[in-house]
Symmetry: C2
């Protein structure tokens, strides 16, 4: 799923549910291990079982790369767009960026003594999830702005990287960047090896993702589209800087995804990958344009190795998009049965 | 120079001057000739004289590509950004996009009989430049919105391409896309041959440029940054579309250029190319960051082969950026003396 406006689109119920599941974040330092970066040479997609999903992907790639075929697509037009949270890496028990926000509030609290008596900061500091949930989207947006704005773009990048170097996922007890799905990393590499240009199109913060997507997914910063706050150019002490303002710039989720694709990429994709209703419009925009197209939805069906959720969860909901998948012949990946291996560390 | 918000930032004086210079646009159809697309193989930059400007460019490229050198920059970080109007192609006597706007108003006028009695449309239709100038930025923005919004993104792309196929520059009597500067096309190709990724960062409309930049400059749509209006995703008759709204989304000029670079590219360039004060902040942002950096300004000094203008023109003004060039050691290209050939058709 894609976080709505840095989570501002989350319903109260969603937020409550997400926060309730958030354990105390471990503060212990742990070095970041090398993440799975490249596909194994040899046969493509080794972490995929030989099921219908894998076959559909390979059939699509064969069709659009076969010169002379009526379905051939020139390399320049082979654009593939991937949602991030829940599609390329784990989004449970809460979006990684939300864990970052809550950690960050605690970290900078000493500079803001007034937070002890001001909501929603007081609730965030005290772990009072009920009050935090009652503060709703507006309260959450306040937390986001307090942690994402008020510094330069370069400073924010360092804050993100410092956090990722030490933060650990509560269940897997590993750096978040190790929780990228190995089959999807292979898929990214497989598409690139076949002339595709791969983009991330996520509801998450664009500057939260860019510092590490190249290392983890092989996707460079200029191929990352996401939600953003406004920045301002200014000269300070004779040097230029971009200062981050507490104002929403763009929301790259739901109907915003095709808009973001058009604005940032300027081409219509021929393949799109998501896992929730937040990706519905991106998959519609991609696949409903004639020609050979690939729409794919990652269905979280493996509570043992990862998580299992779809229509009836208040978090990462996959409902309308699952219905649309049947109508539009999108590939629905059954994580439990289609993926031989989920993480590189398995 | 970079058009301000589709020209909305132009002062009245600037607008008046620009419009006064605008001859009746020729309506005759003329096929688009192939534009200069690739540099001549062999020695790089053949259209450049062997002067200091060419040497400075080559020294910079040698420094950042020499492995082991303290100034070496990995290929992934070799980002170069180019202004468009006046830097890559002719911007006189008016921005090409403004010529498009005025042509387009005439073209669709039959669908808007009320324009005959409504300003600023009446003035645009009658060629009443004085009244049009008096309508100021607001009036011009009205013309832009009337011609750039109210259709899908795909429809607008076709409108742009159809116009470019027949419109001719009033002085050179050639399609506008033939008025790209041959030395700059060679420079783009030379940088790419040395591992650079080349981007356009223009004040002009992003969707006005994207349909043709790959053919003319070798710059694909996803590497074009520009000003934009908002679009909206919607399903119509069961098919998804992006509809263009009469609302400004982003202004990619002056202080907006570093903001646009950060938002769309997400990396700080190591080389930037402009020709006016609209490019000042982009050159500051690019060059004032330590390490080997290249800032370059195209100085229009050749009234015979092209145009001559800088500080004292009301159009395409190069004033503050020329002073900054001396302070910051940016290369100032003297078109008359540094360029052996300006256009491919010479």
């Amino acid at each position: 799923m894609s976080p709505n406006t840095f989570f501002s689109g989350l319903s109260r119920r969603t937020l409550l549910s997400a926060l309730a599941m958030l354990p105390a974040l471990p503060g212990a330092l742990l070095p970041v291990s090398a993440s799975a970066q490249t596909a194994t040479p040899g046969s493509p997609l080794p972490s995929w079982n030989d099921s219908a999903a894998k076959q559909a992907i390979q059939n699509f790639v064969a069709a659009v790369t076969r010169e002379g075929s009526s379905e051939f697509v020139p390399p320049a037009e082979r654009i593939a767009t991937f949602d991030n949270d829940g599609t390329l890496w784990v989004e449970h028990p809460v979006y990684t960026q939300l864990a970052f926000v809550l950690d960050r509030v605690k970290k900078v609290a000493p500079l803001h003594p007034e937070w002890k008596n001001t909501q929603p900061f007081k609730a965030a500091l005290e772990g009072d999830m009920k009050t935090l949930a009652e503060a709703g989207d507006h309260g959450l947006l306040e937390l986001v702005m307090a942690t994402h704005a008020g510094m330069t773009a370069e400073e924010f990048q360092k804050i993100v990287m410092d956090w990722l170097a030490t933060a650990r996922h509560p269940r897997f007890e590993r750096p978040y960047t190790e929780l990228a799905y190995r089959p999807m990393i292979e898929l990214l590499a497989y598409l690139r090896a076949n002339g595709f240009k791969t983009f991330i199109v996520s509801g998450g913060g664009i500057e939260f993702m860019r510092p590490w997507t190249e290392r983890v997914y092989g996707v460079p910063p200029e191929q990352v589209v996401g939600s953003s706050i406004k920045t301002k150019f200014q000269m300070r002490d004779g040097r230029p800087e971009l200062f981050r303002l507490p104002e929403v710039n763009f929301i790259d989720d739901n109907v915003g995804k095709p808009v973001g694709i058009n604005e940032y990429i300027g081409r219509r994709p021929i393949a799109a990958f998501g896992n929730s209703d937040g990706d519905l419009q991106m998959l519609q925009w991609t696949t409903m344009s004639g020609g050979a197209r690939l729409g794919l939805i990652v269905h979280h069906t493996d509570a043992e190795r990862e998580y299992a959720y779809d229509r009836n969860t208040s978090f990462g909901r996959l409902d309308k998009a699952l219905d649309a998948a049947a109508v539009n012949k999108w590939v629905v990946v059954d994580m439990k049965n289609d993926w031989k291996r989920i993480f590189a560390f398995e």
